[in-house]
């Protein structure tokens, strides 16, 4: 009998839909049907039971081919790489659970690594703005229950977060929003007339790269001052019209995406968006939220904040303290300067997403990919360690884009022998301790020789 599993969380985007119904085969090996998921979420579940999954770690051979090795061998290899490296970089974590992130932080601290996540090349500019200006936000249910005005600025959920609009923002009927879509004003601000813009009541076509100017104009108008006839390609009349809607809202939420984070201005765009939200709270209730990409990319920021006090770009190479300085300790910058001498690609694909120059530098040193799938990173790695797919084969806690923890379930058994990120990192941690104990003699002699900072195994 196939088994129906309900209330399943989806390991695709930051919307973290947790209402999926997944039907799996009798033997718990195959996904037969996925209900309620978007096309992309559906595909992730189907992929888990597709042909060609890797079920053993693969080590690069001198002839360039991969050879299957045991998990013990892979763990030993990874531990020795970390011990030998002066400044390893452990990056990724867009697609794993918080348990894995906590275990990875433990390894990074022990190994004196730099620990970074995909925010570094995504919403990192949001972090910079939050450090400076705060983050007046809310949970997505608040938006659903109260919001009568929604702004999507530089984000296109119709494609990137397919069920965001129907679950939380535009369409749902909430406690104080019984009329659903009809009771809400939708404003989309974007240089492109996106599919999201098509459902907007008001579409504001800002000139590319001039978001900051437009925010400035809104803030000026909201404070009752005058503005020029046109700002950032938008006519004064439309700016006044939108500003009036913002001020008259009962409750509003601004959802923003890469259009702010990665166009001219970057963190400054987010900064002024936050300032505008602050300003609006002098009149009525406004909140702002980053459209985080992956289902648990909010996770590492949360987990590592309680671990080290920093959300990303965490340099732990001193081992007794952490240091963060994006631009200096951020992954791409470290790679471009060829400052790291080992690279762990975890639950992401740096091969596809880093600049080619950065990849070339990283490729000079040991490169280990920890990911369930074959991806560009896994194909150029020295070692590829497969792990179970979180949300499908591995349960655990993930943080939705509004930092609400969602408990994910297991619907399939992982391929025989395949372990979780958490177990893998725990085993690497354990192995480092063992090797350090075995080689304790060299450590002591180095200390006796008067070496102030001894790198074990150097």
């Amino acid at each position: 009998m196939p088994k129906k599993i309900e209330n399943v969380g989806c390991p695709y985007c930051g919307v973290c839909c947790d209402d999926l119904v997944v039907t799996v085969s009798d033997d718990g090996r195959k996904v037969l049907e996925v209900e309620n998921a978007c096309a992309i979420g559906n595909e992730i579940f189907q992929h888990a039971s597709s042909e060609g999954r890797i079920s053993l770690p693969r080590l690069r051979q001198p002839d360039g081919t991969y050879k299957d090795i045991s998990y013990d061998e892979a763990v030993d290899y990874a531990a020795r790489v970390l011990i030998k490296a002066k400044k390893p970089l452990i990056f990724g974590f867009g697609s794993t659970n918080c348990e894995g992130m906590a275990a990875a932080a433990k390894v990074a601290e022990k190994a004196g690594a730099v620990l970074d996540n995909c925010a570094s090349i995504c919403h990192g500019s949001s972090f910079l703005a939050i450090f400076d200006n705060g983050y007046p936000s809310c949970t997505l249910g608040e938006t659903k229950n109260r919001a009568d005005v929604i702004v999507y600025w530089g984000s296109n959920p119709a494609h990137a977060h397919p069920r965001h609009m129907s679950r939380y923002s535009i369409f749902p009927r909430g406690f104080f929003t019984g009329k659903g879509h009809k009771g809400r004003k939708i404003i989309v601000i974007d240089p492109r007339y996106t599919d999201t813009a098509r459902v907007a009541d008001i579409y504001v076509q800002v000139k590319q790269g001039q978001d900051y100017d437009l925010f400035n104009a809104f803030r000026t108008v909201i404070r009752g001052e005058d503005i020029p006839d046109e700002v950032a390609g938008v006519k004064k009349e439309q700016i006044l019209q939108v500003a009036e809607i913002l001020k008259k809202a009962r409750f509003g939420t601004i959802f923003y995406g890469m259009g702010l984070c990665h166009s001219d201005g970057r963190n400054h765009n987010v900064d002024i968006a936050i300032s505008m939200t602050r300003d609006l709270n002098d009149f009525t209730k406004w909140t702002i939220m980053a459209m985080r990409g992956h289902y648990n990319i909010a996770g590492p920021g949360v987990v590592w904040a309680w671990t080290t006090g920093y959300p990303y770009c965490i340099d732990m190479s001193k081992k007794d303290r952490a240091y963060m300085n994006p631009g200096e300790t951020s992954s791409v910058d470290l790679a471009m300067r060829d400052e790291v001498d080992a690279f762990f690609n975890v639950g992401t694909d740096a091969g596809a997403h880093f600049p080619i120059e950065a990849v070339k530098h990283l490729k000079k040193h040991p490169w280990i990919t920890i990911d369930p799938n074959i991806c560009m990173a896994s194909e150029i790695s020295d070692l590829h360690i497969p792990v179970g797919i979180v949300g499908v084969e591995v349960p655990g806690i993930v943080y939705r884009m509004d930092n609400v923890p969602i408990q994910y379930r297991q619907v399939l058994n992982p391929p025989d022998g395949v372990i979780s990120d958490e177990e893998l990192f725990e085993r690497i941690h354990q192995r480092i301790s063992e090797i350090e104990a075995e080689e304790g003699i060299t450590q002591t002699s180095a200390a006796a020789a008067g070496t102030q900072t001894s790198f074990v195994g150097e």
Partner: protein, 567 residues
Amino acid sequence: MSEIIIKNGFVFDPLQGIRGDKVDIAIKDGKIVETTALTNPKTIDAAGMTVMAGGVDIHSHVVGPKVNTGRLFRPEEKLFQNIKKTGSRMEMGTSIPSVYKTGYDYARMGYSYVNEAAMPPLHSPHVHEEIRDTPIIDISAMPVFGNNWFSLEYLKNNEIENNAAYTAWLLRATRGFGIKIVNPGGSEAWGWGLNCANIHEPVPYFDVTPAQIITGSIETNEYLGLPHSIHIHPNNLGNPGNYVDTLETLKLAEGYTAKNAFGRTQVMHLTHLQFHAYGGEGFNFESKVPEIMDYVNSHDNITVDIGQVTLDETTTMTADGPFEHHLRAVNNLKWANVDVELETAAGVVPFVYSANNKANAVQWAIGLEIGLLAKDPMRTYITTDHPNAGPFTRYPRVIKWLMSQAAREAQMDAFKHRDKVIDVTNIAGIDRELTLYEIAQMTRAGTAKALGIADMYGGLAPGMDADVAIYNLNAESMPSDAEEIEKAFSRCAYMLKDGIVAVKDGEIVAEPAKRTIWVDVKVPENAQVNRDIYEHFLKHYSLKLENYSLFEEHLHNPRVIEVNAAE
């Protein structure tokens, strides 16, 4: 397991009435035992030292989403630290330390139990993840109720049984400890950018007053017979003239007596009283502590904690969303806010309390007046509302001020507006110096009793957990320099957790397992409440009911307190 005997120390255990006598403390298998039960114990010589039970903190923000927001958005407070790694993990942060630093620093001060003061129910998996990673100290967490839509509806209609059934369900769903109320009604009003300025102002739409929420919550709490009473952060925090609202809030407890099997005698714990004892208006505010403490002293069914301002740079955080928005306009620093659907609204703002600022100095005086005018130290507790009025790592300094008039005078002399501060407060006229016995009451015995856990924590009677703090203080010849008091309480000579020496000479030497304490209440099956829960999750929450309750696998090393309210 090993046996330990602590010999020759001056023991202060108010739960047993031991006042500095030289009593041997025997430990076996993690528990305190009679000395006769030991066969071959290891001896800790505490000669010339003070021995107390492990400290019990009744109100502190140490784990959860708003604490972590504070950590995340304040990288600046980690710079320029000179840290030495002595535990198994690095220690980062100052006013909002990492979970590791939190556990280590509490242990170094001799504390073994912390009650997390506000858990947004929706975020309970987050709270429990942080509890898992916090070393050494046992933690309980109180879910917030005072703005919860279920409770607002039930209490508006005076449906105590329904509210009780819902409360029992939520305690289980979140693995929570008791009923926390923050700015009743006001944080729901904040959903619309509004507030409830006093206990009579009705909540928008829900049309229930804060006073109704408070009395209804007391009735719910006593109906259930929970270990702890309601734990309230009242309306109108921080505003001059608010002592009126505070007195009105306290008076709501009149006529209620505690019904429980845990030895608790109060029906209301009013937290961080310092923020609620202001008279005057605008910047001309003044201490109204005598009025408030007269009331507290003469009403046995109330307990309070201080919320002492420590004159540090810190990070304020509270589920009082409108207050944090107000504070943002006071200092114009960065502001984080999280409204949580159907439940609460929290804010976070960094804040600098300065000895050069008259208002901050008055707050300092008000806090100490509360401790010094307390007639019953078993009902008045030392806190800093960590990190709101100052970090918990300043408890030893607060103890110093309470124990030494000279130390207080030295601080007052350092105030820029010394005379103005003295004019509007009563601190200069108080010569009381608290004793070690009274400090033990205010930091472990009293708090454990108020939390209803005095059979396990806060004392040294046989059968209790072997959580012991040994301080380098000679009770028979106390140091003339008050700085030595602060030093002794900052870094204890020994801290034992479950009979394992976790701290020696102020440093972490072991990291024994910690626990999660929660309260499981049995109530009669309640079809209406079940239906209400089903409906709200179907229509109004943004996640499924089945994913809301904490999964068993995310509860770590639990210790459950069972309560039967079904009969």
